[in-house]
Subunit: 497 residues, 2 copies
């Protein structure tokens, strides 16, 4: 009956000091956190004090008045608050390692993307109320739609541009009203991809776009990327259409060019990720996957299936095809558990991802509801690619403090922070998502060690080979040192004692 009392008396008699026990308890928990075992150097400690001074100031103001608390608000409201934050500015300058979860057509900033709509020869039309964009040589439009030159539409109709923006960005001042439920926001999101695919797959734009993808990351101090892509067919104005495997060549050329221009950038690799569609599409995707992997083993690192999980077939629907890929040595990086529908086909994707030996899990939002999946993920160090802003915009969670990654973080799970599809909600690089993770998902006292570990995790859990990884980490460590030095020299006079 009184074991509680007995326990406390026992503790008090053995240790004799409640406060020491309490302190030890808190420290023991903190040591389990992601980054909890990192020892900071003296210089890093200085930067940590600067960082935490900013974090405490911001968080404690928000604790008093949650209107100041960005991670408790929808990103569309939060963004302005974030971009005013000193913590955010520090995160921007921090070398964040690699982006491990992002989708081919949605990776640049919204501003860059919007600027693309001013390109010459770009035509637009509305199909069932949804935008389509495509390049044509004068007078040679196809007859699938009532195409008009976009720049002319802009001049003719003063309200056109506002509509255009609404078709290429999920932004709205009132997300809950605009998207009453998750299928509404996903529907709009998928229409956006449909709207932009022919804009981006025009070969010259594609190369510029992809160059800019790398530039956005580079500018945000991200040095490497493993991205999901479905190898779209690129086209030229003269009617030439390239096959999926040729798309790889354009990727490789653009990456090579970017690396020549920016020698510190380490490159980008592809997780081939076609849509979960009908069986016929999957069959041809499997053929592409095999050829891509066989012919470009250094660039094509693995396979995934994409599309709104709840409304599509589960992974397991393609077991035979996936086994074929496995047999040829393809690695899997499955999206799984991007849902809050517990014990549904979507949710069970987590189990199939594990049984199929996935190397990482995309989102894994539902994972804390799966004890055995959690156990295996920790044992085998299968990284969870956490995409905070995506999960919020695509309506799995409102307040970041309720994001299940808080549990993963506190229990020391292998996680990385990713941005998923930043174009469509106005994030740029990884910093907005890092901010949400650091200020909204992590605890108040989680500090520079967490950020450092998240950056390191992104390299550790990448698909780089052992040697490549060691080299990448060595480069990253140098950048980290520069970041530490630069921060001290910039903020040295603000270091609290």
């Amino acid at each position: 009956m009184r074991y509680g009392v007995v326990f406390v008396l026992l503790v008090l008699s053995v240790r004799g000091d409640y406060w020491a026990d309490r302190d030890a308890f808190i420290k023991e928990e903190a040591s389990e956190t992601v980054g909890g075992s990192i020892k900071l150097s003296e210089k890093e400690e200085k930067v940590n004090r600067i960082l935490m001074q900013y974090k405490f100031r911001e968080m404690d103001a928000a604790f008093q008045n949650s209107r100041n608390f960005a991670p408790g608000q929808h990103f569309f409201q939060a963004r302005r608050l974030i971009e005013k934050s000193e913590v955010f500015r520090l995160i921007q300058t921090m070398p964040k390692g690699a982006l491990l979860h992002g989708h081919d057509l949605c990776l640049v900033s919204s501003d860059y993307f919007y600027a693309l709509t001013y390109k010459e020869n770009l035509y637009a039309c509305s199909s069932n109320g949804n935008l389509r964009l495509k390049f044509f040589e004068n007078g040679r439009q196809d007859d699938t739609c009532n195409w008009n030159l976009l720049n002319v539409l802009r001049i003719i109709d003063p309200s056109y541009d506002r509509w255009l923006r609404s078709q290429i960005n999920l932004y709205t001042a009132h997300p809950k009203q605009r998207y009453p439920n998750i299928n509404d926001v996903w529907g709009t999101f998928q229409n956006m991809i449909f709207a932009v695919v022919d804009l981006l797959t025009y070969r010259p734009v594609f190369e510029d776009y992809f160059y800019q993808v790398l530039k956005d990351l580079y500018d945000d101090n991200v040095m490497y990327m493993e991205f999901r892509g479905f190898l779209p067919r690129l086209y030229e104005l003269n009617g030439t259409i390239y096959q999926p495997l040729e798309t790889i060549r354009f990727y490789e050329d653009t990456i090579a060019k970017f690396k020549r221009d920016h020698p510190r950038f380490l490159g980008a690799r592809l997780i081939y990720a076609p849509h979960k569609d009908d069986n016929a599409t999957i069959q041809s995707s499997i053929a592409v996957a095999k050829a891509a992997r066989k012919n470009h083993p250094d660039f094509v690192i693995g396979f995934d299936l994409v599309g709104q999980e709840d409304t599509r077939f589960p992974i397991i629907a393609y077991l035979n095809e996936l086994k074929e890929l496995q047999a040829m040595g393809m690695d899997f990086f499955f999206h799984a558990g991007e849902t809050n529908w517990f014990e549904t086909k979507t949710d069970f994707n987590l189990i199939d991802a594990i049984l199929l030996g996935t190397r990482r899990i995309g989102h894994g939002y539902a994972i804390t509801k799966h004890p055995k999946v959690m156990k295996i993920v920790k044992e085998r160090q299968i990284a969870i690619e956490v995409c905070p802003i995506s999960n919020q915009v695509l309506m799995l969670v409102d307040d970041m403090r309720n994001h299940p990654a808080a549990t993963l973080m506190a229990h020391g799970f292998p996680i990385v922070i990713s941005n998923d599809d930043p174009t469509f909600w106005g994030a740029k690089g990884l910093s907005h998502d890092f901010y949400m993770a650091f200020m909204g998902i992590a605890g108040r006292t989680d500090d520079l060690r967490l950020l450092k570990q998240l950056a390191l995790n992104s390299l550790t859990y990448s698909a780089l080979s052992k040697d490549e990884k060691d080299a990448a980490i060595a480069v990253w460590e140098k950048e980290w040192e520069s970041f530490i030095d630069a921060t001290i020299s910039r903020h040295g006079n603000e270091i609290p004692h």
Copy 2:
């Protein structure tokens, strides 16, 4: 590099059957869930098939269109959907065991509470825009406020009643607009308690009210209660004021009367739970606690501190006082971690609750972020009192599927479902909260075994003595059998094969 593939090939070569492995994986996880080890009798299986037919129908419709999904919506919208649900109606008839977390002044239905405002001699006034209610004998009002007879105010001002309702119920059609942040809703909530305290502590009303508290539970098939109460001073119209310890007598008399009228009801006991206020108040509360425990050891089972955790002193502020109580053998049932502010003083209440040997934890909303607390809670079987609707209305979580209790449930933690303060949001008994837990927090396939375990847990984790507990469980088992039989005879023709 290819350990994923190796693993799968290994599994396939040993077992040879992906589908069997998958099935075993799912079953292993399911066996860990709360209720996962229960074996249902043949008759229970029949009821389970009825229940799950309803559950699947409802949930799968909601999966298609989340507008139909009550646990994804605010309770103020969800209530109508819930009350139309066949699952809810089954839950209402189910014997649910005990209520282990509810507060003295907020336990009846809103309708009963509203009806109290028609009592004779009830005066009302507005103090700083907030309602106050109090009984006076004609012409003897105090001068703390501009008192008027409530029934007269109703006649004079046609809009008065609407305002009155807004002062005694948090209901609003637009919760997010009405309560932009958590402190707004807590402020309003605390004003409501302030408004009603003098209505309820008029001795005859107090007795009627408390009788109705028991009746609401009894009607909802709840047989026992351990409630938090602050032992308010009751008064008579003639000016008599009773001391806190005398309030216990009124409780005991009312319980005795209710048990005479309803022999199957097992009673109610008090966790003395004063507010976390200034030190002076705590000192006098500690004195009351000691005397109450000493003089009424069978009724006063323990101690807790209440009030919005975020804005008040943490438990640890009263360490010395709490040690005094411990020394005299007082059990603790602390509110702790009713917050989403991770690693703050509120959040660390979880650690102090554990170190102080708490027997149960009120809310424990933040617990999944605390690995060591989780470990201890499971080892020592410290029950978590989960209050789903309260956590939603008081703005910790929007969508029940994000409630951390889903993780606790899936990992087989000792949890009970409670209602906290149903008066102020229009719930009644335990059924609304059970519904939210069963349909929103649990998984799609969690079934009658979960409900049975939750009911059993409420007795197992009560403060009843071993003998009392055995007796209570025996009574409950009989009621459960009646429920099973009645359900079969009522729904027998609907049992799916």
